[in-house]
């Protein structure tokens, strides 16, 4: 994304709406400028109708590897391999149809850079590597999986490590035996990354004894749940 110098009147209105913190006013000319290092290619600025002169201009197709910024940062950009936009898969939302998570298999969704901090993919790489060591099975339909050069080791392509994104979701399944180790690895690596991640725990609850059993399981892993959850209510069917 760029700002056309000749159109910008330096009103500064756009500075606060940029999720990448990439827009600043130049001291000499007073015109706004976008730091290409910080810009996430999220397209918030071009969708926004607040620029009095429509000074924002974008490239229609971004060169590799910069193109990954848009895939992970603009929710209305679709990742064509999965037809899923942005940064994740349908994961548990359609589990009543896919049975991707059967009873006794758990999912973890690690939303790196969220909330609102952003992340370089080198931090995502640190997380996928420790999860691989813990035996996690990465979701194939997830955009992060396609960036892996060695899924067994969780290594991302070196070409993308310096790309900055608004957030990127790592999705994986773990067995009950692997769960405590995977959570401990995530807690440990959280102290070595230069960003944040929001963690989600996915479980098929059709055979759950009672709700407290979920909390007991997490407590045994040394972690607690927040008061927010997505619940699939089981109305999906395989045939339309």
């Amino acid at each position: 994304m760029i700002i056309q110098d000749d159109l910008c009147v330096g009103c500064g209105e756009c500075v606060d709406i940029c999720p990448g913190g990439a827009i600043h006013l130049q001291e000499d000319s007073g015109a706004a400028q976008i730091s290409q290092q910080l810009c996430l290619e999220c397209r918030v600025c071009i969708r926004w109708d607040g620029c009095p002169t429509n000074a924002f201009q974008e490239e229609n197709s971004l060169p590799w590897p910069r193109s990954v910024r848009r895939v992970f940062s603009d929710p209305v950009t679709t990742f064509e391999e999965t037809t899923v936009s942005g940064r994740g898969t349908e994961e548990m939302k359609t589990n009543d149809v896919t049975h991707r998570f059967p009873p006794g298999s758990y999912g973890l969704s690690i939303d790196v850079g969220r909330p609102n901090v952003g992340a370089y993919l080198r931090d995502v790489d640190k997380i996928t590597r420790v999860l691989a060591e813990a035996g996690a099975d990465f979701s194939r339909n997830n955009p992060i999986f396609t960036l892996m050069t060695d899924p067994e080791k969780g290594c991302l392509s070196s070409e993308v490590l310096n790309e900055r994104v608004l957030s990127a979701v790592v999705e994986c399944t773990v067995t009950p035996d692997q769960l405590p180790d995977a959570i401990r690895c995530l807690q440990d690596i959280s102290r070595e990354i230069d960003t944040v991640f929001s963690l989600g725990f996915i479980a098929n609850v059709t055979e759950l004894r009672d709700r407290e059993a979920l909390h007991d399981l997490l407590r045994e892993c040394g972690i607690g749940a927040e008061n927010s959850a997505k619940i699939n209510v089981g109305l999906g069917r395989k045939e339309p």
């Binding site: 679709t78 548990m92 969220r114 959850a229 997505k230």
Partner: protein, 235 residues
């Protein structure tokens, strides 16, 4: 790897409704809303078909679910790419639904959530339905609608360099756009405008909601936070 901008039709999207700071309703009621005013709830319903399984004819079924959900007066509703707060009309939302779209609606009242779920169950559209909210509230409400939980995704919180996060009040506002499209600076500016009387809380809430392309931003909760401050909102 290939990416493309959506045309408004034909691509599936996934929102990020999970990690939101939730109002502790009981505490909020005691501390902020007094005896008579009930604090707004924060529940999201999403309906979607599943790629490779049951997406045939799903545009028609999604349009039906949009119509059903709209009847229960959601505070936000979307086709996954545009919402009533990004200036789309109901007709535009409907016209731009494709087989791989999804529909999301935000409710600020438990009774409306139950009624909306009952409508979807009766319509028997065969699509997956997901409810986001505080599970201590939503799980019993789902059961009161005659349904049960199949699969759950529980938020385990935020890890890492949490010093870089804004204040809880600002987080409670901006995390209602799961994609992070509302900046802390914008939220702070709107908080200041409302405090100065330059904008009323509803206008401030709608301005923030205009950045949330997925239409999952809860304008009732945002207006309450802008009006009363953070109060009962707790992690």
């Amino acid at each position: 790897m290939v990416c493309s901008e959506t045309s408004g039709k034909g691509e599936m999207q996934v929102t990020h409704t999970l990690h939101r700071l939730k109002s502790d309703l009981k505490h909020a009621r005691e501390s902020l809303w007094g005896q008579t005013e009930t604090p707004p709830a924060d529940y999201i319903i999403m309906t979607m078909a599943c790629q490779g399984f049951n997406e045939q004819d799903s545009a028609r079924r999604l349009k039906k679910s949009l119509a059903l959900l709209a009847e229960h007066t959601p505070v936000n509703i979307s086709n996954g790419e545009e919402s009533i707060h990004t200036k789309a009309t109901r007709k535009e939302l409907e016209d731009n639904i494709g087989d791989t779209s999804y529909v999301a609606a935000v409710f600020d009242d438990p009774g409306l959530l139950i009624a909306a779920l009952k409508s979807l169950a009766e319509a028997d559209l065969g699509m997956s339905v997901v409810v986001t909210g505080n599970p201590d509230q939503t799980w019993p409400l789902i059961e009161r609608a005659g349904l049960g939980a199949h699969t759950i995704n529980l938020s385990l919180g935020v890890f890492g360099n949490t010093d870089s996060l804004p204040s809880s009040e600002v987080q409670a506002l901006i995390m209602m756009c799961g994609h992070g499209l509302i900046t802390p600076q914008l939220a702070e500016r709107i908080i200041e405008h409302v405090a100065a009387g330059d904008m009323n809380p509803e206008e401030g809430a709608r301005e923030m909601a205009s950045f949330c392309t997925c239409g999952i931003f809860n304008t009732s909760v945002a207006a309450a936070i802008l009006r009363h401050g953070l109060g009962g909102v707790s992690r």
